[in-house]
Symmetry: C2
């Protein structure tokens, strides 16, 4: 309608793709799905991993109870149906972050195999990397740590359907990464994940340094 | 338990913050909320803006019907309640992207002021930038364009509750950016948004280039 003014906007051919974003960030997006008992160390290793990635110049983003349960999932309760919907939504959001070429780190107990497999399937359907990280710790050790005093309350019957006490934890049968947090140091756990990401080509060597 | 092995992991003090991620990406995260009639040009300008940002070395990510309606919101229909929940979830997801220091571009008609204001409020509560972009186009022009043939169907009564025909579009009263797509070229629209982002300091000059 009006003539085109001189502008400093440069034009790119076609829509920006996942690969374009990956080139911009020198990394490939992926979902790292941390699963394990309460107190197993999921958030601890996710926080440490986020820092290690940052020090290497990589962008990651953590999805956890703080920003999910108080945000998009605040209208969900703890019925079986709502728990499944909780995990489904987290999976869909992680997938969007992976598509945005960000390394999404999710830390939720996610005790049911069917729920995790549903998230794996929706990533596979979109050709998006899904990396299940089993944060393995014996119930005895997790209960000994009991950082939030939840096991004590569950044993006292003050909390019902608590994973590991009166609700099952279905361990991953073939996780991409298996961490034994009652036998490894935090540094070893982080190194193990970083090594996996580098070996699989998610982190561009030029940025990853050494 | 085991001694700490030598590792190439560098440690950062404390959790990675929004500001840390912003430094990494040379930008500040924000939600750019495009609202307007069907056919007004929301997606067209969002796609062009994504390209312009990419050419400047900036990361943005588009949320639209393709990745939202077929993903996280596939369990929502078109009742009044579901439409509000649709916009709420999109707002929560955009907020997560803004927190991840990404420039989130949402393009949805989002016809109701109350829904948009709810998203604005949840960003304000988290001290997260929310930029409402009114993609303004006369109904006459939008209906003339009718890129998907939806106005024709709505006029024929084949689609009910179509915004602009038998459902209202509540125009923003104080949008941060006001584009008149029936009077501006696409390049002018993009330049207008880029100028706003630069003036507000969302894009670091060192990366933004000339």
């Amino acid at each position: 309608m009006t003539e085109q003014k001189a502008t400093n906007v440069h034009w790119h051919d076609g829509e920006i793709s996942r690969e374009d974003r990956g080139r911009l960030l020198h990394q490939q997006g992926a979902t790292l799905w941390f699963t394990g008992l309460s107190g197993s160390g999921k958030s601890t290793v996710a926080v440490a991993l986020e820092e290690a990635l940052y020090e290497r110049g990589h962008l990651s983003y953590r999805l956890d109870g703080d920003n999910i349960r108080l945000g998009i999932n605040k209208n969900l309760g703890f019925s079986a149906e709502d728990r499944t919907e909780n995990i489904r939504r987290i999976g869909e959001i992680a997938k969007l972050f992976a598509d945005a070429s960000t390394i999404a780190l999710t830390s939720f107990i996610s005790p049911y195999r069917a729920d995790r497999d549903q998230v794996r399937a929706l990533h596979a359907d979109a050709n998006m990397p899904f990396i299940e990280v089993f944060v393995d710790c014996s119930l005895e050790e997790a209960e000994k740590r009991d950082p939030k005093g939840l096991y004590k309350k569950a044993r006292a019957g003050e909390i019902k359907n608590f994973t590991g006490i009166d609700d099952p934890y279905e361990a991953p049968t073939a996780p991409e990464i298996h961490l034994h947090t009652d036998m490894m140091t935090l540094a070893e756990e982080v190194e193990s994940v970083i090594n996996y990401l580098e070996a699989q080509g998610f982190l561009a060597p030029a940025i990853a340094g050494a």
